[in-house]
């Protein structure tokens, strides 16, 4: 039987990057920008956040150095894979009016270059699978998402150091990538374990000079997994899906509304949120107009505006919509919760509202 894991030296990371570039991939990888880890185009492994660790808390994200010399010793960054697949803003069609008054509509050809994302996390991939369901596995397939998804190669890195805001172990989505990636790396004290999870990944591995891994290395990997599974936050144990359905008139929604800025940061950093709005940008001459789709949020007024009425004008209603959809009605739509435990909504909420604490508020209540 072929071993599933191989070993490669730290200095071979450049080889992996070179291999991807040679195959025509634009490499997107983690790097430090404006005080956070962000995914951006990677030309050299020198751009990787070597020796950088993140510290996350409700409403706080900061980076520090000096703890280790590892490349991937951080939990996650400002965004997951979402912006690469579900564009924050893109044109869906262009309409034109000719001199004789006739209207015509042009749809831009869905296009994408092959992209390899490096250091995707287990939670990011779990979230992508949910977005795959939404954009690809419904009656209507989104052609823009589809072409980008098809052209995406995923080089995942197993998490070794979760942040204080992470709870992927409790949501069942991490810290290790069980499937869904093309290649998965585990960063050891020296070197990496590498594993292919797809045919494309296997082909890529064949092009690298790899060594067989040792028992000791596999043990080190297992201990990293055990360590990374110990996370400070977790989802409460009660049946969240069922309970939330019965809490629609709870005063809690008003209590939380007093703290919530209804700013939309949560949904924007949430790797599974997919809501959008559409708007038109006409040329000044009035003869042509672009129709755009952009990220929206259930925390905006427009999200629930229908025919002259704003259904959810208050923050209490918007928050309730978000929490009950993400953790309850999501199950009916996609067969699971919409939360993958990445903790971004906790860290990137400007006022530090902690979703696990909000859910814990319902624990022990009578009812259902």
């Amino acid at each position: 039987m072929k071993p599933s894991h191989y070993f490669f030296q730290t200095d071979q990371l450049a080889q992996l990057l070179g291999e991807l570039q040679d195959r025509g991939y634009i490499c997107i990888g983690p790097q430090v920008r404006d005080g956070a880890i962000v995914y951006d185009e990677l030309h050299s492994i020198k751009q990787l956040p070597r020796g950088v660790n993140d510290a996350q808390a409700p409403g706080r994200y900061s980076l520090k150095t000096g703890v280790s010399l590892k490349f991937f010793d951080w939990a996650n960054g400002a965004q997951a894979i979402k912006p690469l697949l579900f564009s924050a803003r893109e044109k869906l069609w262009q309409s034109r009016q000719s001199a004789d008054g006739k209207l015509s509509f042009e749809t831009p050809e869905p296009r994408s270059k092959p992209i390899a994302i490096i250091a995707a996390r287990a939670c990011d991939i779990a979230a992508m699978k949910i977005q795959d369901q939404h954009f690809l596995q419904q009656t209507f397939v989104d052609p823009y998402y589809q072409v980008r998804r098809k052209n995406l190669l995923i080089i995942a890195v197993n998490c070794a150091r979760p942040a204080d805001t992470c709870f992927c172990h409790s949501s069942g989505d991490g810290p290790f990538v069980d499937d869904g990636a093309d290649i998965v790396l585990t960063e050891l004290e020296s070197g990496f374990l590498i594993e292919a999870q797809s045919t494309q990944g296997e082909e890529l591995l064949a092009g690298l000079s790899l060594q067989d891994c040792t028992e000791q290395q596999l043990e080190e990997q297992a201990s990293i997994k055990a360590g990374a599974s110990k996370q400070k936050k977790q989802l409460p144990k009660y049946d969240i899906r069922l309970r939330l359905r019965h809490e629609l008139n709870n005063d809690f929604w008003h209590e939380i509304a007093a703290k919530c800025l209804s700013c939309g940061n949560w949904t924007s950093v949430c790797p599974t949120c997919f809501c959008h709005s559409e708007n038109d940008v006409p040329e000044l001459d009035g003869k042509s107009s672009g129709h755009y789709r952009e990220w929206d949020s259930c925390f905006t007024q427009g999200h629930s505006y229908i025919h002259g009425i704003t259904i959810r004008s208050e923050t209490s209603q918007r928050y309730r919509q978000w929490l009950t959809h993400k953790f309850s009605s999501w199950h009916e739509q996609y067969g699971r919760s919409g939360c993958v435990g990445c903790g971004r909504c906790i860290s990137w909420c400007p006022v530090g509202i902690d979703v696990t604490e909000m859910l814990a508020n319902f624990e022990g209540r009578r009812g259902v």
């Binding site: 920008r33 924050a88 950093v269 000044l284 427009g302």
Partner: protein, 258 residues
Amino acid sequence: MSKPSVAIHKFSSCDGCQLALLNLGEPLLQLAELVDILHFAEAGPLDENAKVDIAIVEGSVSTLHDIERLKNIRANSGLLMSIGACATSGGLQALRNMADTQQWIADIYASPDVIDSLDKSTPIKDHVNVDLELWGCPVNQRQILMAIRALLFGVMPVDEHDKVCMECKRQQTVCTMVTKNEPCMGPVTRTGCGALCPSVGRDCYGCYGPAENANTQAMANRLQGLGLVDAEVARRFLFINSGADAFHRQGVLSREKK
């Protein structure tokens, strides 16, 4: 068919919002083909009393004479659109609304008796019916063109009232508040600027005025948590748009907190 006519009027302001029109470049020529600009003192055409389809009004009401002029403009105009912080909230000069204006005038001017000023600087909507408002200090070209284009189509422009945060996140701008403890006003401030300040790494200072459903109390609490004392929190709200209801209320509350 005659072209729709437009007049651009100025009240108390720095003229910066008119620059959004003047600096348009090529689109200004295009605009001149679509509409007749009958009054635009800063650009040339002068006809203060012209009857127009669209009046664009910049600046706040600051003198008794302003009120008379404004009523005349309203009577002569089909639609009236106020643009910029001065016209929509009273502007920076509305800071005097919370002070003793006569004392300020006496302190500042060599001959206070020649200064004709109301005690308060007020937005256009306080005096006449306003059909639509463009917020911002200053408003930008994109806003102006989108608004005029919509009016030419015969529809109202989309009211851009979401929080700045939404645009920040679309641009993948890293949050300055979360990473750098900047006292960013983005979560309570109206979008439209393109998240300009956060995109260059600094905090939003609320120059587009309050967003819809702005939770200013939670914002004030957060600013305190970042280390700002009450007077500093108050100044975050009582700045460019101190006359805007949501900012005014919160600013005064923070300022008077003992």
